[in-house]
């Protein structure tokens, strides 16, 4: 161990001396290697960032990896029981879904069916229902009403802060406050789609919710990006229930039932919830729990892409290796006497090879450091230029994986480019010093 570290130290110091003695050569071999290492760093960083961006978007509507999802069917007492179990919990949140129309009283929403506001007229229309005799529009409050300034959206009731599972990005105003008494005027947080609709059509505020006993006046307190394509609004479930019976939540025609999101460690809640639901008459086999595993699902496709790009980067790296090799061989040719002399004074062949290898390794590492630095600066620049266009990438730091890949690329290039010169150096006969 001591011997090894002593030799390593000697190799590094002497290798460093060699590099300083031939700065121009070192620089030239670094130039060719730089692009190769940079390619590896960029590919790795790009893959890592793309991965994160994709995951960040998926997280918004699928939930973070590891989140446990339970679907509670609308039948029977399931929904009220679930809401009761989950009341006040922070490690599990229930989401109810209802259809709501916000805007001028008594008019048809401009996006009937709750579709994206940009695509009004494309495929939105009255909700249809079908039976044996065919399909026809559902008869509801809107039927026959005149079109007007109102927006149909999905109203999501929450029993707690859902952002620990789905990290909505705040864009305006505040998020819901789950502490304190419920307000009689339900506080809404819109998603980007809904906010867009409301800025385009200045709708007066009245909210019609399917199944509600009266139409409350909502207060819109904020806007978030939830990754969704359809207008939606989030509301405290208890504020919503001021206006509609619990039973209606389960019975709503737009979905129905509850979705419960739980942290991976919320085993106890899951257990209690399941037991209570079964006790309330929900068949055991109707209670499904699954875990979000987006990364695992996507990783095979992403990995393939990454390997293809890394393959191309490796080719560029190979050119850099050829550069180091070329310079290294030329240098050994020039240093025959030095190496013969070193052997004459007792430097073993292995250490001599180590010295030559140390030079290329140091060169490789130095290049890697520069390439990684260039990658970091490049990313920073790209962020300031394009950052605003890709909110998912906001605050993205340089991925450490790219740094590691760069260092490995530098080391590999150093070894590949230095091995042959090192072996040549070790084979120089000592008696060269006597023939000169």
């Amino acid at each position: 161990m001591i011997r090894l570290s002593g030799r390593l130290r000697a190799s590094l110091i002497i290798g460093g001396q060699g590099i300083r003695a031939r700065k121009l050569r070192t620089f030239l071999s670094m130039v060719s290697l730089f692009l190769g290492v940079l390619a590896v760093v960029v590919v790795q960083a790009g893959a890592e960032i793309a991965n994160r961006a994709m995951l960040a978007d998926v997280e918004l509507y699928q939930g973070k990896d590891g989140t446990r999802q339970m679907y509670v069917p609308p039948e029977g007492q399931a929904v009220p029981v679930a809401l009761e179990v989950l009341e006040g919990r922070t490690d599990a949140v229930a989401m109810t879904t209802s259809r709501a129309i916000i805007g001028e009283p008594g008019v048809k929403p401009i996006n009937e069916g709750g579709g994206p506001i940009d695509q009004v007229g494309d495929y939105t229309g009255p909700r249809m229902t079908c039976d044996q005799s065919g399909c026809y529009p559902v008869q509801d409050a809107n039927s026959g009403a005149p079109s007007g300034q109102a927006v149909e959206l999905q109203l999501v009731g929450l029993t707690g802060d859902v952002r620990q599972f789905r990290p909505f990005r705040p864009s305006q105003g505040r998020w819901l406050d789950f502490g304190g008494e419920p307000s009689l005027a339900p506080r809404l947080v819109l998603n980007e789609q809904a906010a867009k609709a409301f800025t385009r059509y200045h709708v007066p505020a009245e909210m019609r919710v399917d199944g509600a006993t009266a139409n409350p006046t909502p207060q819109i307190i904020g806007v978030v990006d939830d990754g969704g394509y359809q207008p939606a609004a989030y509301v405290r479930a208890d504020e919503l229930m001021n206006w509609m019976p619990v039973a209606e939540l389960g019975d709503s025609s737009s979905g129905g039932g509850l979705q419960v999101l739980m942290t991976p460690t919320a085993v106890e809640v899951e257990h209690v919830l399941r037991a209570r639901l079964v006790a309330a008459g929900t068949p055991e086999e109707q209670i499904h729990v699954n875990t979000v595993e987006t990364l695992k699902r996507m990783s095979t496709e992403l990995a393939l892409m990454r390997w293809i790009f890394l393959g191309m980067a490796a080719l560029v790296l190979l050119i850099g290796v050829a550069g180091i090799l070329n310079v290294g061989l030329a240098t050994v040719g020039e240093r025959i006497e030095e190496f013969a002399l070193r052997r004459a004074v007792g430097t073993p062949r292995l250490l001599l090879a180590g010295i030559v290898l140390a030079e290329t390794l140091l060169t490789g590492l130095l290049t890697a450091a520069l390439a990684i630095g260039a990658g970091v600066v490049g990313l920073q620049l790209a962020m300031t230029v394009f950052g605003s266009r890709f909110p998912a990438l906001e605050g993205t730091a340089f991925p450490w994986q790219a740094g590691v890949a760069g260092v490995i690329a530098g080391l590999v290039a150093g070894v590949l480019g230095g091995l042959v010169p090192a072996l040549r150096a070790a084979r120089i006969p000592i008696s060269t010093v006597m023939r000169a």
Binding site: R3, R7, R9, A10, Q17, R22, V345, L351, I430, M434
Partner: protein, 241 residues
Amino acid sequence: MTTTPLLVPPPPLIHLTGVTKTLKGQDEPRTILAGVDLTVRAGDSVAILGRSGSGKSTLLSLIGLFDRPDGGQYLLGGRDITRIPERKAAALRSAEFGFVFQRFFLLKHLTAAQNVAMALVNGQGWLPRRKRKAKVLAALDRVGIGHLAKHKPPRLSGGEQQRVAIARALVREPRILLADEPTGALDTETGNLVVEVLRQATEVGCGLVLVTHDHDHAAKMGRVLHLSDGLLRPAGQRVIA
């Protein structure tokens, strides 16, 4: 095994008997050494004279373990090292020998001190910095150029450069000094100085083998041998120029 009685002198540093070496020339192989006998004890100084091409350097390269003999026997301090493997040879070169060549072989990019420190690198790695420095300075002082430690070779005269090379040979405190025409590139005065520095090393028990063309230098050694036809013979008692 011979039993060594008490009061018998220790085995010689170098003991060559019937050493042969054949080198592959351009066409046919040439026998350069045809059975060389040589004994060097601690404190001995031996001059080797001979025509150019007679095999003096070849002989030194065998003694210094740069290469191995084809035949005969080589005992170093009584130990048979005729067929020693390269890894052990490197350790012996580092521990037992100091080399001085006609050309100085100093690395231009290193200071005098760093050039001397180069000989301290061996299979064990390197001495700690402080020890290294002390040894290097002592060696430079020994050849009288301690004040030039920080100078790089291009700024030194030929004599100073050769003295850096001698310091590099002395820094390990070797038991044997091998010098191959060390004054060949120096003027007479500087050459005399260099030979004197080498001779002084024998006063502290070093064995010295000096290959030279200069009969004056040879005359300063304790023994003068002549290499010709692959054999080493005494060059007569105290050869006169």
